[in-house]
């Protein structure tokens, strides 16, 4: 994963160096919804499996803010980006005697490219673009179980990793402010989840009680703001 990121950064600098003045740096933030149904079911299975007390779902992979850093090469109307999303699931029970807690922190690092088509350009009021996106997402699931009963604590964290492929479509509205642009954008990403492979032994992957692979579901709406800095 880290190797991939370094590779990407090297690529971005290469592109920047090669394109000279036809490059913009884009910093985007977005509010994202997800469809981690498989992980939700996995959480429900967990609740059913613990019969000591009844755990409640605290978090069910809710929508969350995400961040993206992009480089747009104007010559080819393509924006390369790296994107970060995080969400999570949590079930827990606690009373005066102790706590039972299972958290699943899910992070997604996406690398992709977006081909942008300019639909209108009004230099004063900004330009409107449609972006077609393709990306690969590296998912990382951090499954933490924690119990503390009468002062006796036990905690364990295990890691899973998956790879998802996605396509997206969005509308972009860039508004010039001084030398930078404020970007408004909204769209939809469709993602096909991959298996979550157990990090300590890649022969295993996460399954639910029906022995079906648990998969991430990053698909969802994306809407947010960004800053475009032309270089």
């Amino acid at each position: 994963m880290k190797k991939g990121i370094y590779a990407l950064i090297f690529t971005l600098y290469s592109v920047v160096g090669w394109t000279q003045n036809n490059v913009s740096i884009i910093l985007e933030t977005s509010y994202n919804t997800f469809a981690h149904n498989s992980l939700s079911e996995f959480q429900e299975d967990f609740i059913r499996d613990i019969d000591l007390v009844t755990l409640k779902v605290n978090d069910d992979y809710p929508a969350n803010f995400g961040y993206a850093l992009g480089v747009k090469v104007e010559n080819i109307n393509t924006q390369f980006f790296v994107n970060y999303n995080a969400t999570g699931g949590k079930i827990s029970y606690s009373d005066f005697s102790g706590t039972l807690r299972v958290t699943e922190l899910l992070k997604g690092y996406s690398l992709g490219g977006e081909y942008q088509v300019e639909l209108s350009n009004n230099n004063d009021q900004g330009s409107f673009l449609i972006g077609f996106r393709g990306f690969v997402t590296f998912s990382k699931l951090e499954l933490n179980s924690y119990s503390k009963i009468q002062g006796s604590t036990s905690e364990e964290t295990i890691y899973f990793a998956g790879r998802d492929f996605g396509l997206g479509l969005r509308g972009i509205y860039d508004i010039p402010i001084s030398i930078i642009k404020l970007r408004l954008h909204a769209g939809y990403d469709f993602s096909i989840g991959g298996k979550l492979i157990f990090s300590d032994d890649r022969d295993y992957h996460l399954q639910n009680n029906n022995e079906k692979a648990v998969k991430t579901g990053w698909s969802g709406l994306r809407a947010g703001l960004g800053i475009v800095v032309p270089l």
Binding site: L52, K56, A86, F96, G98, L106, K107
Partner: protein, 598 residues
């Protein structure tokens, strides 16, 4: 830097779900049954414990006495044993430590990790001291059962009190645990004791020691059982009331004669007729078994003897003087001392006793006869004949065989009025007659079989030939021949006191012989005759031993030529005599009877 920034913006989890349980710990604690703080213990005790209403899955407890663990358990309702043998007198602590699961429903509770613990301490006092046994004030029999009155109980420091029963031999026959009610009423009804003369005491005890009071004896009357002859085979068994008749239901006993029959007897006294025969001649015991609720409860031997037991046992001979109405008994002691007794003719009690002398061997005694003329006793021994004066009750004269023939110190010596007869003791030998006064030999004969002579030697039988004395000596009269022509020797023979008749025989053939007329009559009934004797009325009295009819005595009635009989016990170690309507056994028994025709 950018990625550090991205990673910093991680997902924030919501707060944990918190279940706010309202929990009230259960009230009350462990309950010890039969035990309270401050209890005084004089014995170890089993203590039941429980925790009321416990629904918990987990329970663990331990019990300590003075910080020493004596018990532990995971059972919420059970018992433990408080063992005080090793504890000193005085105060001690009993501590119960226990934990139960909280049952709060919390995560820890559900994980069997949440408990309530408690420690409860109880004090108790060990007292091993014991009261003195309070004892008995009186014992009495009322309506066939025993009532024991207890002394006031001023000190009740005992665990248990027992009524101890001893039999008359001093053996403890029963221990009866006294109930609270009996201790309160100070009276105990002993419904179990059935033996005579019980003694009673009180025993108090605790786990460590016991105390016994003095015994109080109860003299009971005795039940008596007597036999009363009805006829040759039947008799009545008559019992009087047993003093403790209410303490059992009946007696059971086996009466054995020829074969065994079981009978029962009412403890209030009963008369039953037993038709299975009986015999005279020894002391008998019936083993009477107490029956209560259909079960046997021991028994005892009760003397049930036909006839009366005399004051003298196992004597040699008894003879009766009709004119004196006295009985005379010659008895040889174990050290061969010869004792003479005179018995009252009616009561059979000893009136006079005289110890005469000692002899060398028991069979030195030959016979005791009553001289029909002088009413003195003639005692014939080996080596001497003694005249015993029944008037002075002393020896009148002694005739020693060696004074007549120095070569015959152990000859059987007979006093025969004017004669002294010496007979060699062995079966073949000499019989020599001497003039009593001159001591000169007047006659002699070699015998090959038994020798018999009448009291004054008017007749004698030797070698089966009857001789009669005449003016010049002795003459042969006749040979006494077997009616069936057998040549065997005569087995027994007696002369009467009038020299008028004799009876003799060969076991199965008995002949009545009239000496005056030489007329003979066969006597048929006695069978296998062992002994023959004349009554004081000169009636022949046989003792016979028939192989199938058993032992019996028979009194022959010459007028009817028939005999009356009575079954008797063994004939080889005792003699039977019949005088004045009584049969005597030399075992020391007599019975008044007319005998019976079977």
């Amino acid at each position: 830097m950018v990625f550090v920034l991205l990673n910093a913006c991680t997902f924030e989890f919501s707060e944990d779900y918190f279940n706010d349980i309202e929990y009230t710990p259960p009230e009350g604690g462990i309950v010890l049954l039969d035990f309270q703080s401050g209890d005084e213990l004089s014995a170890s005790r089993t203590i039941l414990y429980t925790i009321p209403g416990i629904t918990n899955t987990y329970f663990e407890m331990r019990v300590l006495v003075d910080d020493q663990e004596i018990y532990n358990s995971t059972n919420p309702t059970a018992e433990f044993y408080l063992h005080i043998e090793e504890l000193e007198d005085g105060a001690h602590d009993l501590t119960v430590e226990y934990v139960i699961s909280s049952d709060s429903g919390s995560l820890a509770d559900r994980s069997d990790a949440e408990y309530l613990g408690a420690t409860e301490t109880f004090s108790f006092i060990v007292d091993k001291s014991l009261a003195s046994a309070f004892g008995i004030s009186s014992v009495e029999i009322r309506e066939g059962t025993v009532f024991v009155a207890l002394n006031e109980i001023s000190d009740d420091n005992f665990e248990e009190a027992y009524l101890i029963v001893k039999d008359e031999n001093g053996y403890i026959s029963n221990e009866i645990l006294l109930s609270d009610l009996e201790l309160e009423n100070l009276e105990v009804n002993d419904t179990q004791t059935v033996h005579y003369h019980p003694s009673y005491a009180i025993k108090v005890k605790n786990a460590f020691t016991e105390q016994l009071s003095d015994f109080v004896a109860l003299e009971t009357p005795l039940m008596e059982i007597s036999m009363e002859i009805i006829d040759f085979r039947r008799f009545k068994l008559k019992s009087t009331e047993h003093p403790l008749y209410a303490n059992f239901d009946s007696f059971s006993f086996d009466y054995y004669y020829e074969r065994s029959f079981r009978h029962s007897l009412d403890p209030r006294g009963e008369e039953i007729i037993i038709p299975y025969g009986y015999a005279f001649g020894k002391e008998n015991y019936l083993w009477l078994k107490y029956i209560k609720d259909g079960q046997e409860h021991g028994g005892f031997g009760q003397s049930v003897t036909l006839g009366t037991v005399m004051e003298i046992q196992d004597f040699e001979e008894i003879i009766y003087s009709k004119s004196l109405n006295k009985y005379f008994v010659l008895d040889l002691t174990l050290d061969n001392t010869v004792n003479m007794y005179q018995l009252n003719g009616d009561s059979m009690l000893i009136e006079k006793t005289n110890t005469l002398f000692s002899i060398d061997f028991p069979n030195d005694f030959n016979a005791m006869e009553l001289n029909p003329i002088t009413e003195n006793l003639v005692l014939n021994f080996k080596g001497k004949s003694v005249i015993f004066d029944t008037n002075t009750f002393a020896i009148a004269s002694v005739f020693n065989s060696v004074d007549y023939n120095s070569a015959k110190p152990s000859a059987i010596t007979y006093y025969r009025e004017d004669y002294i007869v010496l007979e060699d003791a062995w079966s073949s030998g000499q019989v020599i007659f001497y003039d009593r006064l001159t001591k000169e030999e007047v006659y002699s004969i070699n015998k090959t079989s038994k020798f018999y002579a009448s009291y004054n030697l008017e007749y004698f039988v030797a070698n089966g030939d009857l001789h009669k004395r005449n003016s010049s000596g002795f003459e042969f009269v006749t040979t006494l021949s077997h009616p069936l022509g057998y040549t065997s020797d005569i087995e027994y023979l007696i002369f009467d006191n009038e020299n008028s008749r004799m009876v003799f025989g060969w076991y199965r053939n008995n002949i009545f012989y009239n000496l005056l007329s030489n007329y003979t009559v066969d006597i048929w009934e006695p069978d296998i005759v062992k002994d023959l004797h004349f009554t004081e009325n000169q009636a022949p009295f046989f003792t016979s031993n028939h192989f199938s009819a058993g032992n019996r005595v028979e009194l022959y009635d010459q007028n009817y030529d028939s005999s009356k009989r009575l079954q008797v016990y063994g004939t080889h170690d005792q003699k039977y005599r019949y005088y004045n309507g009584h049969i005597f056994s030399t075992k020391g028994l007599y019975i008044e009877t007319n005998l019976f025709r079977p």
